[in-house]
């Protein structure tokens, strides 16, 4: 039996809406996450995929505790962590780390790389006072950067190198769970390939579990072990990666897969039959009744406009939330 490192149960996160005067509007919310269940196993790379506005980043921020939850529970190694960072213990903060999308804004431009990497070590009391520099150089070497970078500033180095520094900072405290929030979406493919390979190597070395958030399905195919598709704050489908790409079930998944621009005939054949993508993701303020995908779904029928479907296991380990599989 594989251990679940993280369990998310019925998680909801609503944001209040303020009117122009700064007064909270009653009864109106942005439903960023609307009841999701996830379990992430130790040592796996879990891909969380969705369009912008689907709530994937909010889920990540909830896991690291940047937001308090509205409803539901997050269990980390059996311990309830549905509290915000400020009230979490130092041990928890050390164990769960995050790498953000844009390394240009998450590294302090006024600090040298040495200072940036020293801070997490200092906070968690892991700093070797006699040999501080060697320790930080070793950390830089794990992300394949040389010691020349010690006294550089984030603005002096390229985007790919900045992201490497951000990754080094995340793994400095020897965490067991790392949340990667679109770490390569602002980078070129040649640099993306380098970073993904390095992440895979680090995972083996440090026995890490990744939650990988992205909108790039081809990347998910090559990097993750399991995939969840999110749509409007809910999960549409969860499956092991290989099976997910072989037999996608949910109409939304099929639409996503058939919209990917690919570069070879072989890949073309793997795509499901062309479903013309139509419409756009509705606003999470007024979610349509019934299944939230019914505004764009080519197979929607009357039940979809009335009843919200529930998660069902259609094949071992393959869960779908759609009325077509009732």
């Amino acid at each position: 039996m594989v251990n679940n490192i993280l369990e998310v149960k019925g998680l909801k996160k609503y944001f209040p809406i303020y009117n122009a005067g700064g007064v909270k509007q009653k009864g109106v919310f942005v439903k960023a996450i609307d009841g999701i269940d996830l379990s992430i196993r130790e040592g796996e790379t879990f891909g969380l995929v969705g369009e912008s506005g689907s709530g994937k980043s909010t889920t990540a921020y909830n896991i690291v505790g940047m937001y308090g939850v509205t409803e539901g529970k997050i269990l980390f190694k059996g311990e309830d962590i549905s509290i915000i960072t400020n009230s979490r213990s130092l041990r928890l903060k050390k164990d769960i780390q995050i790498v953000f999308q844009d390394p240009g804004t998450t590294l302090n431009p006024q600090r040298s790389i040495r200072q940036i990497l020293r801070l997490p070590l200092q906070i968690h009391g892991m700093l070797n006072k006699q040999n501080e520099e060697a320790q930080i150089i070793r950390l830089l070497n794990t992300v394949e950067l040389s010691s020349d970078f010690l006294y550089k500033y984030p603005t002096m180095i390229g985007g790919g190198e900045r992201q490497m520094v951000a990754i080094a900072r995340a793994i400095a405290t020897d965490p067991s769970l790392v949340v990667l929030d679109e770490p390569t979406s602002s980078l070129d493919v040649s640099i993306q390939a380098k970073i993904i390979n390095m992440l895979l190597k680090l995972q083996k070395q440090h026995n890490l579990t990744y939650v990988f958030i992205t909108h790039d399905l081809s990347l998910v195919r090559n990097f993750t072990t399991r995939v969840a598709i999110m749509y409007l704050g809910k999960i549409a489908e969860i499956a092991p990666t290989a099976q997910f790409f072989r037999v996608p079930k949910h109409p939304y998944t099929k639409m996503l897969l058939s919209s990917i621009p690919v570069i070879s005939k072989m890949e073309e054949e793997l795509k499901p039959k062309k479903i013309k993508s139509q419409g756009e993701i509705p606003s999470p303020v007024d979610v349509p009744p019934g299944c939230s995908f019914n505004t764009r779904c080519p197979m929607a029928y009357d039940k979809c406009y009335k009843v919200d479907p529930v998660m069902k296991e259609v094949e071992p380990d393959h869960m779908v939330r759609c009325h077509l599989f009732d």
């Binding site: 390939a193 690919v262 993701i281």
Partner: protein, 322 residues
């Protein structure tokens, strides 16, 4: 002989910056035939946008065009005065920018902005507000935007990203143009919306018989939208071929590296990536600019610049290996 709409010959562009003079474009050659859709593919900072901005003469003040020719229907755009180039921008070439938020004026309605474009096309049937409005509605309808009449009176902030980009496409194609330049039109959009926008762009360009230059960093997008692909690296065209030919055999080591880096839907892991990064334009490497990262570098590569020449099948490469 095919009709050439735009031809760029040996274009050199540099920028005066705070740190010194940067040599960005280093002899770019490009030609687009009538009705052809081509794309320029390359990584960030390789000079894709600079190339197309040079065509429209909308480069920043600091830019300096050192030498070269840009022929639009046989006339050199670089030798034209401001007054001569204005009608070409109004009726000949149109451009779709990467960021539709910045491209649309936030204080004017979509209708007002569209009718300006139509008014300046100076077509006979565009005289009078009624005719302009009609054409604007037609243009919006053709890009499958819902409820075009209401849309005319709405402001850009009231629309979603995908709709804004479709308005930009409508604007670019509202009047007949011989060339449309699209600068990464779908980079900010989600895949499903990207799919819709690209389909519309492709369809509309085909209907109007215009030529298209699509700038993108995604080879997948280039493959699905265009007939011919130019691969660009550090201010040079390194390879050009028809889409099917390029994906069958790549000659230049950079193209090979780039294609192997793209994660495939069929799985099979990810290649190692290309070592190093794009050279600094302040002091670019002598000879072939890829020589600092090339796995097959020879002595000759660091001494002279390879010529961009034909190797058969309409395939052009700039590399000493061939």
């Amino acid at each position: 002989m095919k009709d050439t709409v735009v031809e760029i010959r040996d274009l050199y562009v540099g920028f005066k910056t705070f740190k010194g003079y940067t040599k960005v474009l280093n002899g770019v050659d490009l030609s687009v035939n009538k009705g052809e859709r081509i794309s320029i593919v390359g990584e960030t900072g390789c000079g894709k946008t600079t190339t197309v901005k040079a065509i429209l003469q909308i480069l920043a003040k600091q830019a300096k065009i050192e030498k070269g020719e840009i022929l639009f229907k046989g006339k050199d755009l670089l030798k034209m005065t401001k007054n001569e180039i204005k009608p070409i921008r109004e009726t000949g070439i149109s451009m779709i920018f990467q960021d539709p938020v910045a491209a649309l004026n936030p204080v004017f309605t979509i209708g007002q902005q569209l009718s300006v474009v139509i008014k300046y096309s100076r077509l006979k049937r565009t005289k009078g507000e009624e005719a302009q409005k009609e054409l604007a509605i037609k243009a919006l309808k053709e890009t499958s935007l819902p409820d075009p009449k209401r849309l005319l009176n709405s402001y850009p902030f009231q629309l979603s990203g995908g709709m804004r980009q479709r308005v930009c496409i409508a604007m670019a194609l509202a009047t007949p143009r011989s060339l449309v330049i699209a600068d990464e039109p779908t980079t900010n959009l989600d895949v499903t919306i990207q799919d819709q926008v690209l389909q519309i762009l492709k369809q509309r360009v085909q209907d109007k018989g215009s030529s298209l230059i699509l700038i993108t960093h995604s080879l997948g997008v280039a493959r699905e939208t265009t007939d011919r692909i130019y691969v660009m690296y550090a201010g040079n065209m390194v390879e050009a071929a028809s889409t099917s030919e390029l994906f069958k055999n790549q000659y230049h080591p950079y193209t090979k590296g780039l294609i192997s880096c793209i994660p495939k839907l069929s799985g099979g892991g990810i290649a190692e990536g290309i070592p190093g990064r794009i050279p600094n334009y302040l002091n670019p490497p002598y000879g072939c600019r890829y020589s600092t990262r090339c796995p097959k570098v020879m002595e000759r590569c660091t001494k002279e610049k390879p010529e961009f020449k034909d190797v058969g099948n309409g395939h052009q490469v700039a590399c000493f290996l061939y």
